[in-house]
């Protein structure tokens, strides 16, 4: 890995740390502000349910039961392909445990594609999965 790439990785790692700190405190405590973190035409995929556009995402998350996330693992990489040349784009992978009101604590994994818009980082896509989302026996 050359120095230029090392720098990118360094910046990407720092951004991932700052970003997730802000994201999880927002989603747990200040949900009404969360929409601002997304691009206008951003995408949220919540356990396989797709929601597009900032306002719809904000509403979807507001309607979820109150949450307490505990972030434990964080990984991130810069995307350096020609396809995004000139456009800073980072992949972020986060994992930990979450407790939604009245639900048992469960492991979750979440992936973001964030991209620089002006001097602000915005979420282009956000993919959230409770680790065993598909293994829970349906109660109907």
């Amino acid at each position: 890995m050359d120095d230029a790439m090392r720098l990118k990785v360094e910046q990407c790692s720092r951004t991932a740390e700052d970003f997730t700190k802000l994201y999880y405190s927002s989603v747990d405590k200040r949900r009404h502000q969360l929409g601002k973190l997304y691009l206008d035409n951003g995408l949220l995929v919540w356990n396989g349910c797709g929601v597009t556009n900032r306002d719809a995402i904000q509403k979807y998350i507001l309607d979820l039961p109150a949450s307490e996330h505990n972030l434990q693992v964080l990984d991130a990489q810069p995307v350096v392909d020609d396809a995004v040349s000139g456009q800073l784009t980072f992949l972020i992978s986060a994992a930990g445990t979450v407790k939604f009101q009245d639900n048992p604590m469960r492991p979750f994994q979440q992936n973001f594609i964030i991209t620089a818009q002006g001097d602000k980082w915005k979420i282009a896509s956000d993919c959230y999965r409770l680790q065993d989302s598909l293994s829970t026996v349906k109660s109907d």
């Binding site: 206008d40 035409n41 797709g50 693992v73 990984d75 995307v79 594609i113 818009q117 680790q131 065993d132």
Partner: protein, 228 residues
Amino acid sequence: IGFDVAEQTTLPPAKASFLCDAAGADVVRQFIEQYFIIYDSANRQPLLDAYHEQAMLSLSVASNSYQGARLNNYFDWSRNILRMAGDKSRHIRYGRLPVVSFLSELPKTQHDPQSFSVDLTLFTPKLINFVVTGVFRELSKKEQYGNGNPDSPKIMRSFQRVFMIVPMANGGFCIRNEMLFISNPTQAQSKMAFKPRPAEPIQPAPAVPQVAPAVPNVVTSPVVDEST
């Protein structure tokens, strides 16, 4: 008379897959099929063809085990930014050869395709991003090397892989970025692992067909918004 302050406490039901663009279904399905056939085989070297010359791969491991077998086989290679001092590029495999030799060192596996959930979050002519979540089991020493205790316990793992793939000149695709996450399964996952379940084929979510054209603009020409 009370106040209407009751909050929602149930979670929306989960779906097995989301496709931001129906056109991506075949590409993703084929890619996943081919990738895991090789990954689960005795020899992972053929994966060289699946990675870009400057591919990047990192592995991260859940920091605490919920239950089940220790994750010792993976911890030494785990990249967790929250616990990293110094050089942040440590534990990133960069380049086709380092990536595949690293993958070859990881325990041999058998994945359970029925456990997979697949989320396609970006589908453009130049860049495709999708996330695969599911379970695999580690092969026993007997299965790997032909010796060892045949009754050794079957170790189950939960995993998530994020793939960023790009088209190649020959019409195929190769991996530009990959992040692999490994943890122990929850009880619910262990219970359902490798058991048949009702088929829920990968199909587009009809409610949001407009996603695909929107996102590519974001990634390729983000400055447009500013000028308007």
